[in-house]
Symmetry: C2
Subunit: 210 residues, 2 copies
């Protein structure tokens, strides 16, 4: 309960309302062990989940058969909540990176769902939409250096200096869709030129524009 109260989905709701809504959404807690597949690409989905413990990862097989990592989910994050409102099959496979505890919810009857919860749901989905939009904006920048800088610059104004990025190098490269070694190379150059400094995923920018 303590945990549920802090979830964005239940923001602004009383404990009683939360309990009643979970009931209405046929909530049930479950465990899955490392390696399990929660959602299979191509499947139809009619319930969504909240990750109470553990880590998940979204995989996608492209048309040519190559596999790519789409997203990584941590505690408190939701999955499948967008899918249940689409008529399309799951475009990604969701795998448990570790043993997980999950709160399953759905199917959802909107006429019996609390407006606050619906609002929270919409906010969450909207946020995820703009997150994708942002990623696309970065990927539209042709020069790798400018792409990296735009990303770091945004993080810097959002989080101050120094700041951390929620990625390891591989993840950061994937997000900016660049090659990992190319990313490392460019970061080194920028460090040598005095544009920034970093250690692992902790960065400091020394200039505000390129």
């Amino acid at each position: 309960m303590e945990q549920l109260r802090n979830l964005p989905l239940f923001a602004g709701m009383t404990d009683g309302e939360i309990e009643r809504q979970i009931e209405a959404l046929r909530g049930q807690r479950g465990r899955v062990e490392k390696g399990s597949v929660l959602i299979r690409q191509g499947e139809r989905v009619d319930r969504f989940g909240i990750l109470l413990e553990g880590r998940l990862q979204g995989h996608q097989v492209d048309a040519d058969g190559s596999l790519s990592v789409v997203s990584t989910l941590g505690v408190g994050m939701m999955f499948g909540e967008i899918l249940i409102f689409s008529d399309c099959p799951a475009p990604v496979t969701l795998v448990a990176l570790t043993d997980c505890r999950i709160l399953w919810l759905g199917p959802m009857d909107l006429s019996r769902t609390h407006p606050t919860l619906i609002g929270n749901l919409l906010s969450t989905i909207a946020g995820e939409y703009w997150a994708l939009h942002q990623k696309i904006a970065y990927c539209g920048i042709v020069s790798l250096r400018k792409r990296i800088f735009a990303f770091l610059s945004d993080r810097s104004v959002a989080a101050g200096v120094p700041f951390t990025v929620p990625f390891d190098r591989n993840g950061m490269a994937a997000y900016l869709n660049a090659d990992r070694s190319a990313l490392s190379r460019e970061l080194s150059r920028m460090r040598n030129e005095g544009i920034l400094d970093y250690h692992k995923n902790r960065f400091t920018l020394f200039v505000s524009a390129l």
Copy 2:
């Protein structure tokens, strides 16, 4: 009314329900002339719109000051509907490409909104989310040729042969984020190799895999 009934937002609702909901959403029709700005990047937005007539275009200025076209909207499409559920400022500027007629709706009180309309709204937003997701999937393909082919291949299975794409060359290049001339060059090559044929935005694929 005739027109409203066919909008995805009002799908499955009776005329009476539609009218009542428009009233609850403080709906008002408006006109804007070519060149007007409907939403300015950075602004807060508390109402959304449905394009009844005309064409709109979304622009975005990157961190380095360069302008890029993000999207183009046609009759029946909504705009701002995701924004009103976010706490972030508008990431794009929306400009009228032609004279337009618009139905403005909002602010929205979820507790007074018909569940069906909420469902339609969620479906629409979910659809837009997966559309972005798809675009990102394409952009993740490193080889331009494979990127183009993945795109055309998907359109082909969805729409048969021959099929049309909703873009001119510029738009298609932007969507696949590629350079227009590079796109033309690659399409030519593929045509010469007998992989496909095309005229303007009408394509025919001759192979199903690359």
